[in-house]
C-alpha cells in the first residue's frame, strides 16, 4: 500500500460536472483528488481488505439476528421501545439490505481494523462506484497506469443486482434531504442503478412525505409509498412525529428498519464481546462499562455520530483531540485507538462496501486530522502488482 501522485486528467472537473458530480468541491475545498492515488497489490486487497470485509459482514448479520430477539440488547442500543416490533418484524421477514460501508484502519502491514460500520446511510457511493472507475479507465488509457491495473470495485453492478432482486411492480421512491447536494446526488445515483434494474422511480424530499387517514405514507402526488429508499437515519425517523406510523404503514423501507441495529456504534462493544481478540476488531466497551477505563489510548464516539462529529481521542484518560458537532447527547462507546495509514501528512480511512451480502468495493478518504470528518477528501485507488 502506497500513496502516490499522478498527473490529474485534463478537464476532470468538466467531466465531473457533466455527470452531475457537482460536489467534487465542498466548503470551498477540493473533495475529489484526481492527482493522487493509493496503490495496492492484489494480495493486499483480497486478503487484507476484501476477506476481512466479508468476515465483518457475517459477524454483523449474526449480531443483528441475536439483537432482534433480545429486548435487553435493543434497549442497550437505544432503539426506542415503541419501534422494537418494527425492527424485529423487518428482520424476521428477511427484508433485504441494500448497502453499507465499513470504515477500516489499514496500513498494508497488520490486519485491517474495524473503526465503524455505516450500515444505514453510507455516503461516498457515487465517488467510489462510478467516478473512481472512470478515473481508472482514463488513467490506464492515458498510459499513466499499466494496462493490467485494476480496482476493487464491483459496486455498481452489485447495486443493480440488488435492486433487481425487488419486483418492479410498483414505484421505487427515493427520499432524501434534497437541499443537500451530496445527499441528492447520492440518492439520484442509486435511483439510476434502480432504473437500470428495471424500476420506475421517483425522487422526493424527506420532508414532503405525508400520511393519509389509514396511516400510510404518501408522496407529493398523493400516491401511497409502497417501497422507499431513504437517505435519512433510522435513529431520527424513529424519534420524529411520523415514527408512530412506522409499525403499521405497510411501506417497505430500504435500508430496512433492522439496520438501525448495525448503524449504531453500540455494536462495537457487542462484537468485541462475542469475538474477543478477533484480528479485525479493536477492543471496545460501552462508556459506562468500568473496563472502558482500562484502555490506555482510546477513541470515544457517540452511538449515532455522523461525519466524525463529537469524537474524542483520549490518551491515558485525557482528551488529546476532539471534534464538535450535533451528536453530543446520548450514549457513547470507547474503542481502543489504532493508528491510520499516514503519508504526506494525510491520514487515510478505507471505506469498504458491502452490497446485498457481498464485499464488493473500496473508497478511500483522507484527512489532515486523525478524526476523519466531512472535510475529508476522496482519493481513488488502483491495484497494480
Amino acid at each position: 500500500m502506497e500513496r502516490l501522485t499522478i498527473p490529474a486528467r485534463d478537464g476532470w472537473q468538466a467531466k465531473a460536472e457533466a455527470v452531475g458530480f457537482g460536489f467534487h468541491e465542498m466548503y470551498g475545498e477540493p473533495y475529489w483528488l484526481d492527482d493522487v492515488y493509493y496503490r495496492f497489490t492484489m494480495e493486499e486487497i483480497e486478503e487484507g481488505i476484501e476477506a476481512p470485509t466479508q468476515a465483518l459482514h457475517e459477524m454483523c448479520r449474526d449480531l443483528a439476528a441475536e439483537v432482534v430477539e433480545s429486548e435487553a440488547l435493543m434497549t442497550r442500543l437505544a432503539i426506542p421501545v415503541d419501534q422494537f416490533d418494527t425492527v424485529r418484524a423487518s428482520f424476521r421477514a428477511g427484508e433485504a439490505s441494500l448497502y453499507g460501508r465499513f470504515d477500516l484502519a489499514y496500513d498494508g502491514r497488520g490486519p485491517a481494523k474495524l473503526l465503524e460500520y455505516n450500515a444505514d446511510t453510507p455516503t461516498g457511493v457515487f465517488e467510489a462506484a462510478y467516478f473512481q472507475y472512470d478515473w481508472l479507465i482514463d488513467q490506464v488509457g492515458l498510459g499513466r497506469l499499466p494496462e493490467g491495473a485494476d480496482q476493487f470495485n464491483l459496486i455498481q453492478e452489485s447495486l443493480i443486482s440488488a435492486f433487481a432482486a425487488h419486483p418492479a411492480d410498483r414505484i421505487f421512491h427515493f427520499a432524501a434531504i434534497t437541499a443537500s447536494d451530496e445527499d441528492r446526488g447520492t440518492a439520484a445515483y442509486l435511483m439510476d442503478c434502480a432504473v437500470q434494474a428495471g424500476h420506475r422511480t421517483a425522487l422526493i424530499d424527506m420532508g414532503s412525505i405525508g400520511v393519509d387517514e389509514a396511516g400510510r405514507f404518501v408522496d407529493p402526488m398523493e400516491r401511497v409509498i409502497d417501497r422507499c429508499f431513504k437517505l435519512y437515519p433510522w435513529e431520527d425517523m424513529m424519534r420524529e412525529p411520523y415514527a408512530r406510523h412506522l409499525p403499521t404503514s405497510g411501506t417497505q423501507w430500504v435500508e430496512p428498519p433492522w439496520k438501525a441495529i448495525l448503524s449504531n456504534k453500540g455494536i462495537l462493544p457487542l462484537l468485541w464481546e462475542r469475538h474477543p481478540g478477533h484480528p479485525n476488531l479493536l477492543p471496545a466497551f460501552f462508556a459506562d462499562d468500568p473496563r472502558a477505563e482500562t484502555v490506555t489510548s482510546s477513541v470515544r464516539k457517540p452511538f449515532h455520530s455522523r461525519e466524525g462529529e463529537n469524537v474524542a481521542i483520549l490518551e491515558n484518560g485525557r482528551t488529546a483531540e476532539e471534534t464538535e458537532g450535533d451528536y453530543g447527547e446520548g450514549p457513547t462507546v470507547v474503542q481502543a485507538f489504532t493508528p491510520l495509514f499516514e503519508a504526506a501528512g494525510q491520514f487515510a480511512v478505507l471505506g469498504t462496501w458491502v452490497v446485498g451480502d457481498l464485499a464488493c468495493g473500496l473508497g478511500i478518504r483522507e484527512d489532515r486530522s486523525r478524526i476523519t470528518c466531512n472535510l475529508s477528501r476522496f482519493v481513488p485507488h488502483a491495484i497494480v502488482d
Binding site: V19, D150, A168, D169, A202, I204, I209, D219, D226
Partner: protein, 189 residues
Amino acid sequence: MRKRFTDLASGPLLALGTIAAGTLVLSRCDGGPDENTMYTSVAQCVEAGYSTGVCQSEYQAAMKEHMRSAPRFDSGTACESEYGAGHCVEVPREQPGQPGVGSIFLPLMTGYLLSSAVQSHSGYSGSYSGGYYPRSTPIFTNRSGKTLRSDPVVGTEVTPPRPANVNTRAISRGGFGGLSFGRGGSHGG
C-alpha cells in the same frame, strides 16, 4: 487468466446520464391504469383504463400462452380433481397429420396480467419503466382457490399483488426530516 474486478473495456454507465437530479421524477399522468393488476376479463381491463384493442390483444396473447404452457390432462376427471368441477376446458389434441383426434383438458384461464410492454406506454414518461411481466401472463386457479400462473414455472403460486401506489390523500405532511434541520452537510456518513 487471473481474476479482475473491473472491466477496462466498458466502465459503469448512467441510465439517466447525470446524478444532478431535478428532472428525474418519472411522473405519472393522472388517472392512468394500475399495472400489475390481474384482469379477469377484457371488460374489466377496459374499465381499468386501457384501450379495448390493448385489452383484447393482451387477452389473446395470454390465452395463447395458457394453451401452450398450462398443465395438460388426458381426462376431464383428472383435470377436475386438480382444479375443481367446472374449472377445466376441453381442447382438441393437436397431433401432426391427425388433426382433431381426441381431446386434452386444461384448467380454465381465470385471469391475465398485462405485459410490461403495455404498462410502459400507459402514462409514464421516460424510456425506463419497470415491468414485472415480460409477456401477458395467464392466471388460473386451483381447487383450493390458489391462484397460479403458467410462467415462468408451471404451477408457481401467485399472491395476488397488493395494489400499487394507490391514489389517496395526505391528511398531514412533514413528519419526517425535522431532526435534520440545523445539521449542515450530508445526513449520511
